[in-house]
């Protein structure tokens, strides 16, 4: 990876840290579904030069998924020091990039200022897989029929469930008899709760290869 010239110059004239500029908001897929995974970053430019790409993270709060990006800032007064990795006030964020693709923004990205917090929602990326683990029947209710549905599908030739990920009760990426038993254990014997996304509709942070059609959660 090669650094643009501007970054090299900043490293020589390091500065005092300034409080970060913060971007946050929601990202939805083209289909309007929440996006909660992926490699997200904000690209910061000064004039035409790339200054830095600040990484972002997804958090679940207030029942929704949000992205948060903190952009490190520093002064431009020529203070001596070893820092030189921050953006400066007045620099601009010219793009939000998710998994290498530029997101469409609902509002203009701000000029950076110390301590400023700006909400910018975006569209793009791939929606996360949303389902309730254990809800194998897809009826938005976790009950005895879900456990039986797993066993019926595996051993009695019942129709393939729409969301096999949801039938993977123990979340180990494989569908077998233990998933049906796991669901029944959770329901009736005080067994452990199904792992993420859990028994309520939520985004699977690490989907396996079992597959899941758009279900009632979406």
């Amino acid at each position: 990876m090669s650094f643009p010239t501007a970054v090299v110059v900043l490293a020589l004239f390091a500065e005092l840290p300034l409080p970060d500029a913060t971007l946050y908001g929601k990202i939805r897929s083209e289909g309007g579904l929440p996006v909660a995974t992926g490699a997200l970053k904000a690209r910061v430019r000064r004039a035409q030069a790339l200054v830095l790409e600040a990484p972002g993270a997804f958090v679940e709060a207030e029942g929704e998924f949000w992205y948060v990006i903190s952009i490190p800032l520093e002064t431009n007064i020529g203070a001596p020091g070893p820092s030189g990795v921050g953006a400066r006030e007045g620099d601009v964020v010219d793009a939000l990039i998710l998994d290498g693709a530029t997101l469409q923004l609902a509002s203009a990205l701000p000029t950076l200022a110390a301590g400023a917090v700006t909400r910018v929602d975006a569209t793009g990326g791939t929606a996360g897989l949303i389902y309730a683990r254990g809800d194998c029947t897809g009826d938005l209710s976790l009950n005895i029929t879900d456990g039986i549905n797993v066993l019926n599908y595996l051993f009695l030739g019942a129709a393939t469930p729409d969301c096999l990920e949801a039938c993977d009760g123990d979340g180990n990426g494989n569908l077998n008899i233990t998933d049906g038993v796991f669901i029944l254990n959770y329901l009736f014997l005080g067994g452990p709760e199904p792992p993420a996304p859990g028994p309520e509709c939520n985004v699977d942070p690490e989907p396996s290869q079992l597959g899941c059609e758009l279900g009632p959660c979406a």
């Binding site: 005092l16 840290p17 409080p19 970060d20 913060t22 946050y24 958090v59 709060a61 207030e62 949000w66 948060v68 903190s70 490190p72 002064t75 007064i77 203070a79 001596p80 020091g81 070893p82 820092s83 990795v85 921050g86 110390a114 301590g115 917090v117």
Partner: protein, 513 residues
């Protein structure tokens, strides 16, 4: 008030201080509370909280000002090139907040929408002032608000001044490099860059043992060593004890003196709020101080420990210590006895006390939270016996009615006098003249009993052998009574007394007829 203190008790205090001060691990953070005040400007402010805030929730602590966000700089750890910020925002979603609590000895960047005054009550905690080399640190120098030093004077130690390479302040909304002759501001934080780790950049270094200063019935004296660095000029060191901002401290319990001058003399230092100045010669880099604690009066049961903030100020900087006093004598009823083993009858054997057959008499001393102490004629003691609550009556036959006492007693019980008198007029039922001549005889003599309890005085009789450390909750001294009117010359009796504090709620005065 008599403040006699025996040499024995003073020596014991020194020994106790030597043994205990270095071994205590609690105390500094216990009770010494001070209020830190910051003038907040609209926009960014760099402030330094010296003590640990009593209110740790940032939203509650900042509620009095129009703030926008508060930021704390987390220096880079090993292997990291840059530190990071932790922040809390007033009007943004809570999931953006990364700063959970306010912490003492920490600097903050505060963004305010409008000017105001921020007042934060903080517990005095040991100061952490290390500078890590190679990166900017948000650092709060310990400077007094009155006559603060210049930058060069503050970082004047040889092992410090050569390694602090750049200092920046926030002035009028912009960063500005601080020059050597610029005066530092109390309560402000600065960006400081050192080219190597500097363990103790402050101009005053304080050694107080492991935990700080805690005074109780065992420790009434503490020694503090100050490293004030070398200087080509003589300096004046000022030491001041300020009452704790929680309002729990009684003033005038802390006495301060240079250790070279010996023990704190009575009254020296004037107690809380009074400056003590000490001249430090140019070639002297270490100053030893004695801090002496002596609580005044009786403390209500259940009352918290008391604290003072001790400020040590040099022209080049400031150090702050917390001192805590655990009041050893609290309100309640004290029960014990006096062994009256000496009598002086001037008219019989020419004056001076002579041994006599000992009379042991019960004493019941009531120390109320407010009002006068008094000697009681009787008390009711509650106890469990055979699983049932029983009430016993304890008599003090020397007294027929509660005897109010005047005077004061030191907090550790090592000095002080309580005195009172009983007058028996000629027709009083207990006046022997009334019966000696005729029941209806109208004339006789007043009999006056003047009683004095002198606390902490050595008993004129051999002390009992017991654990010398078991003195918490024990008051002892000399009981002396002068009986005038019974004989042409007054009769004086005296003896040692010893009282123990009773458990709270188990003893009550008898109903007074």
């Amino acid at each position: 008030m008599s403040t006699r203190r025996s040499r024995r008790s003073t020596a014991a205090a020194i020994l106790a201080a030597a043994l205990c001060v270095t071994s205590r691990t609690r105390g500094l953070e216990a009770a010494a509370i001070r209020e830190e005040v910051f003038a907040i400007a609209a926009g960014w402010n760099l402030i330094h909280l010296s003590g640990d805030p009593v209110t740790k929730d940032p939203r509650a602590a900042l509620s009095a000002i129009d703030w926008t966000s508060l930021w704390a700089w987390v220096p880079p750890s090993t292997g990291q090139s840059r530190g990071r910020w932790a922040a809390i925002h007033r009007s943004q979603p809570a999931f953006l907040d990364t700063l959970g609590t306010l912490v003492g000895s920490t600097s903050y960047a505060l963004l305010a929408a409008s000017p105001g005054t921020l007042r934060v009550k903080t517990l005095v905690v040991p100061r952490h002032s290390e500078l890590r080399g190679g990166a900017y640190e948000l650092h709060g120098p310990a400077v007094p608000s009155s006559s603060p030093p210049t930058l060069s004077r503050y970082f004047s130690r040889p092992d410090v001044k050569d390694h602090v390479t750049a200092v920046y302040e926030l002035a009028a909304g912009a960063y500005r490099r601080v020059q050597a002759a610029d005066i530092l501001r109390a309560g402000a934080a600065y960006w400081v860059l050192a080219d190597q780790d500097v363990k103790e950049p402050d101009p005053i270094r304080v050694r107080t043992g492991l935990g700080g200063i805690t005074f109780d019935s065992q420790v009434t004296l503490a020694e503090v060593e100050l490293d004030v660095g070398t200087s080509t000029q003589a300096r004046q060191l000022t030491v001041r004890a300020t009452p704790s901002a929680d309002g729990q401290s009684t003033a005038a319990w802390l006495r301060i003196s240079p250790a070279d001058e010996g023990l704190p003399p009575e009254g020296m230092g004037g107690g809380a709020g009074t400056d003590v100045t000490i001249d430090v010669p140019a070639d002297q880099s270490r100053v030893r101080l004695f801090l002496g604690a002596e609580s005044q009066g009786i403390v209500p049961a259940g009352s918290p420990d008391q604290g003072v903030v001790v400020e040590v100020v040099l022209p080049s900087g400031q150090a702050v210590l917390g001192a805590e006093l655990i009041p050893p004598i609290r309100q309640g009823i004290w029960i014990g006895d006096a062994t009256l083993g000496e009598v002086e009858r001037a008219g019989v054997h020419g004056g001076g006390f002579a041994p006599a057959a000992g009379l042991t008499a019960s004493l019941i001393l009531d120390m109320p939270a407010t009002g006068q102490p008094r000697l009681l004629p009787c008390a009711q003691v509650e106890a469990q016996r055979d699983g049932r609550k029983r009430t016993y009556r304890l008599e003090a036959v020397l007294f027929h009615a509660p005897l109010p006492l005047t005077g004061t007693i030191s907090g550790d019980g090592s000095s002080g006098v309580l005195a009172g008198s009983v007058r028996l007029p000629p027709d009083h039922p207990l006046n022997p003249y009334r019966h000696r001549y005729h029941p209806e005889h109208g004339s006789g003599y007043d009999i006056t009993r003047s009683i004095e309890l002198r606390f902490g005085e050595s008993a004129p009789v051999a002390p009992r052998i017991e654990n010398p450390l078991a003195t918490v909750g024990v008051l002892s001294g000399v009981y002396e009574e002068e009986i005038a009117g019974l004989t042409p010359e007054p009769i004086r009796v005296r003896g040692a007394f010893r009282l123990r504090q009773t458990a709270e709620g188990t003893v009550a005065p008898c109903a007074t007829p």
